[in-house]
């Protein structure tokens, strides 16, 4: 063979291999299927009016995980062009020919094992499935699209890979290493919210549920999951909590089994292992299966919890109703009886025109004494110790932070919640802040208890303890409430003589005790579910109930504080815009006399306060400031 012939042969060979080279340098498309399929609108309706899409976005396909697979490796029935219109569905368990894979197995690649695994799962079509049910069961491509191969996000400089490369120098090993490595980090390529959306595509679809015969809790799985803390965290931008597959897919992602199956990851016998997996709840014990992981406020969750929840709603309604009624009454009554103007700095003491015989104590002889006395806006009489002022500060801060970081989780569907979470620095930061804040809140509760205990012991030892000067509710408080309402309605001439803590403060304080106890206990349950479920009696009821109560109680506390507390200390007539008791622990004279007359009397007896009636009897209208 002469040189000329060899050159000619080489040129012919190059020309023959050119199309092959061209296709290999882009995507594996030796048959040039993209000649037609690269067009976006290569679509058409069939006889049944179903639109079929034959388009392959070549750029995306070139970056996809299947970019090395030739079209005919999957679409095996196509052997001619133009091919028949009724091409068969792709069977993913067929073998395909990827050079890279040969490095690992020496043979062709196949999804056969996965497909077999899937067939035995709850989603696989069974021989006794009715045709309409079989049709609804998802095939591979229902969940999988031709995912983009994310090479750059991994760690090619990993020292383990370098050691492998010492011996295994074959091209493609790095890709395989990265492929395996990323499975250690993530169970699936999709983000958790995308998984939820994927599963919801069928499980939240009413038509689907009707065909499948899903009723009751089974028909509400998506709705109930969306009420869990897992979903709320995902919805607000978190990534490291459980989506559907984390619990239901068990070890290998494709073998999702019915709960009744002993091998199922969510079977009550196996559930604790599932909770332990992936480092979510490492200390989970078998008792964790008592926790209802699809617990929802709005759905059926057992008669005991429903009754208590309804009772809680009743309590909430009654509490709000009671407080709103009092607020309305007080506003109406105090303005009607001319006890106060709205702005406290506009209050002018009335001129006392009555006659009182001089030379004796006249305490308790002027029914509406508070109308005639002057006051120092910053406070006249001591009311709270420095410890209580600190307690109040800490409650104010921790409550505000708890609301800002907790309520967005409760109202997770609201756009404002997303804004707040972003402002705080993302859901993970929010969760840390909320927990740290809860610790501070609990510390404050303990601090307050110590202050109370020490104060009580001190008074007891000096024999000055008087239960009437404490927050302890007494029968007199009920009578005070009754007569106060009568006064507001104009049926009494003056307000009743009340103790240092009147009925309003006692209701508020009792609510605080209840709220702090419930929020702390339920908060601990939410934070340490795997431990707390071991200690609580009847966890199936108590634990699930406490989890619901955390949110219920938070909302109630939020409403009470924002509406009731705000009203009483800031916007009630005569109290606007604020009082200084929160800062210096002192109460103004008119306020003390109006609402805590008995305390005023005691302070007069103790020499802390002057007798205002005597001053009026002597004709002295004003007090020295």
């Amino acid at each position: 063979m002469n040189r000329k012939k060899i050159v000619l042969l080489c040129i012919v060979a190059c020309l023959l291999l050119l199309p092959l080279w061209c296709s290999l340098s882009f995507a594996r498309d030796p048959e040039n299927c993209l000649f037609c399929h690269k067009y976006r609108r290569l679509r058409g309706y069939d006889e049944k009016g179903v639109l079929h899409n034959y388009y392959v976005d070549a750029k995306l396909h070139n970056e996809s995980i299947h970019r090395d697979v030739a079209c005919v490796d999957c679409h095996t029935d196509i052997d001619q062009v133009p091919h028949k219109a009724d091409a068969k569905k792709v069977d993913c368990s067929k073998e395909c020919h990827i050079d890279k894979w040969k490095i690992m197995s020496g043979g062709p690649f196949s999804h056969q094992e996965v497909a077999e695994n899937y067939r035995t799962s709850i989603h696989g079509v069974k021989p006794d499935d009715k045709p309409e049910v079989a049709q609804l069961k998802p095939d591979c491509k229902y969940c999988h699209v031709d995912d983009i191969y994310e090479l750059s996000e991994e760690v090619p400089s990993d020292p383990v890979l370098k050691r492998c490369m010492n011996c295994h120098k074959e091209k493609g090993l790095k890709d395989i290493f990265i492929h395996i490595y990323h499975r250690f980090k993530r169970k699936h390529v999709r983000k958790p919210l995308e998984i939820v959306e994927l599963c919801s595509g069928c499980h939240a679809d009413k038509d689907f549920q009707n065909v499948m015969g899903f009723t009751g809790a089974r028909a509400e799985v998506v709705e109930t999951y969306k009420e869990t803390i897992h979903y709320r965290i995902l919805q607000l931008g978190g990534q490291d909590t459980a989506d559907c597959t984390n619990c239901h897919a068990g070890g290998t992602i494709h073998n999702i089994l019915p709960v009744s199956d002993p091998k199922s990851s969510v079977n009550p016998e196996n559930r604790y292992r599932t909770c332990q997996a992936e480092g979510c709840h490492p200390g989970a014990s078998p008792r964790i299966s008592n926790i209802d992981s699809h617990l929802s406020k709005d759905k059926d969750k057992g008669i005991e919890i429903t009754i208590i929840e309804s009772a809680m709603q009743g309590v909430m309604w009654f509490t709000l109703f009671f407080l709103f009624t009092l607020m309305g009454m007080e506003t109406y009554g105090r303005l009607r009886n001319h006890d106060a103007r709205f702005f406290r700095w506009l209050r002018v003491p009335q001129k006392f025109t009555g006659k009182l015989p001089a030379g004796k104590h006249h305490i308790d002889e002027i029914p509406n004494l508070h109308r005639y006395v002057e006051f120092n806006p910053k406070g006249d009489y001591p009311r709270y110790s420095i410890n209580i002022v600190i307690n109040h500060f800490l409650v104010g801060i921790t409550f505000t932070v708890a609301v800002a970081t907790g309520l967005p989780l409760y109202f997770h569907n609201s756009a404002i919640s997303h804004e707040v979470i972003n402002l705080v620095g993302g859901i993970n930061v929010t969760r840390v802040i909320h927990r740290f804040n809860a610790a501070l809140f609990t510390f404050n509760c303990l601090y307050h208890l110590i202050v109370l205990l020490c104060g009580t012991l001190k008074r007891m030892s000096s024999r000055t303890f008087d239960i009437r000067r404490t927050q302890f509710p007494l029968w007199k408080d009920a009578k005070d409430l009754y007569f106060d309402i009568r006064y507001f309605l104009g049926l009494e001439k003056a307000r009743p003589h009340m103790e240092k803590f009147m009925y309003k403060q006692k209701v508020h304080y009792l609510a605080m005790i209840w709220g702090c106890s419930v929020l702390t206990l339920s908060g601990v349950c939410l934070l340490f579910p795997e431990s707390m479920v071991n200690y609580l009696p009847f966890p199936k009821v108590s634990f699930n109930l406490l989890r619901l109560l955390h949110a219920d109680e938070s909302v109630l506390a939020f409403l009470v504080i924002t509406l009731w507390h705000l009203y009483n200390v800031h916007i009630a007539p005569g109290r606007f815009p604020l009082q200084w008791a929160f800062w210096n622990g002192r109460i103004t004279r008119d306020h003390q006399i109006e609402e805590h007359y008995l305390e005023y009397e005691r302070q007069v007896a103790e020499g802390i306060a002057e007798c205002e009636e005597d001053k009026l009897a002597k004709g002295g209208q004003s007090n020295e400031q």
Binding site: R40, L60, S64, A85, L320, F324, N413, A415, L559
Partner: protein, 273 residues
């Protein structure tokens, strides 16, 4: 005096009733209604108002997203022309369905050609030229999509012009006027909304009016464009030489016309199996 006293005793009672009622209602709202509001899904973001057919396609795509394995990007052109073509108010952007083997191939042209590029009225067919029309206010920097080949990957070159389509220009009063069928959009929308209530005669009358400027049978064949004697001057229409070469030498038209089956050579099977 006595009437005043009577009035003053009734007033607190009325106030009491009003306060109780308002408190009960407001408490009930906060206790029960608030929970209902909370469980509501966030509202869907508002989308651009689209024609019936475009919305239908979007909805179909949403439902069928699990039917298509290969990743796809959004069809910008679809939205750009949704309200700019009378035809697309009633007809799908995939309108050809009769020819089973060629329907998808015919449909793919709707991304690049207006309906009148093929369905031009007979009297204009003799004297026609083609040009690009962009129906949006967006002024792209690049050439229309599909006119250039990216040598790096053999695919269409990236461009910011996914809006323009080729449309016929006809002579009107000595000048050239683009045929885009925008003028009947509102009438077509009304027909789509109220057509079901019309009598068959009225329906036919409106349909005839809407089809006035349209030849229902396409006037060009594959080879009218995809041949060396193309009725389109691809060079003038900003096509790259490499792309022109592809377009005028396309044998797909011939294959479809004659349905000559071409079996994949065994060389590929031998290589990979």
């Amino acid at each position: 005096m006595s009437s005043n006293e009577k009035k003053s005793s009734a007033e607190p009672f009325i106030a009491f009733i009003i306060i109780i009622a308002l408190s009960a209602l407001f408490s009930a709202y906060l206790t029960f209604r608030l929970q209902f509001e909370r469980s509501k899904e966030p509202p869907e973001p508002k989308t651009k108002e689209m024609s019936f057919q475009t919305m239908r396609i979007k909805e179909q795509e949403r439902k069928q997203k699990h039917e298509h394995f290969h990743l796809v990007t959004d069809d910008i052109n679809l939205e750009a022309w949704a309200d700019k073509s009378t035809c697309l108010i009633c007809h799908s952007p995939y309108p050809h369905g009769k020819n089973r083997k060629a329907k998808a191939i015919m449909n793919l042209h709707t991304e690049f050609l207006t309906c009148h590029a093929c369905h031009l009225k007979a009297e204009h067919q003799e004297k026609v030229r083609f040009g690009w029309v962009n129906p949006t206010a967006h002024k792209p920097q690049g050439k229309p999509y599909g006119t250039s080949i990216d040598v790096a990957n053999g695919l269409f070159a990236e461009t910011d012009d996914h809006y323009s389509k080729l449309t016929p220009f006809i002579q009107v009063n000595g000048g050239w006027k683009a045929v885009t069928s925008e003028e009947g959009v509102e009438a077509a929308k009304k027909y789509m909304e109220q057509g079901k209530t019309y009598s068959p005669e009225k329906k036919k009358e409106i349909e005839d009016r809407l089809h006035q400027g349209t030849e229902l049978k396409e006037f060009i064949k594959c080879s009218s464009c995809h041949s060396a004697t193309s009725i389109m001057n691809f060079k003038e229409l900003a096509f790259d030489p490499a792309r022109i070469n592809q377009l005028v030498q396309m044998e797909i038209g011939g294959m479809l016309t004659n349905y000559d089956v071409f079996y994949f050579p065994q060389i590929f099977e031998e290589k990979f199996k």
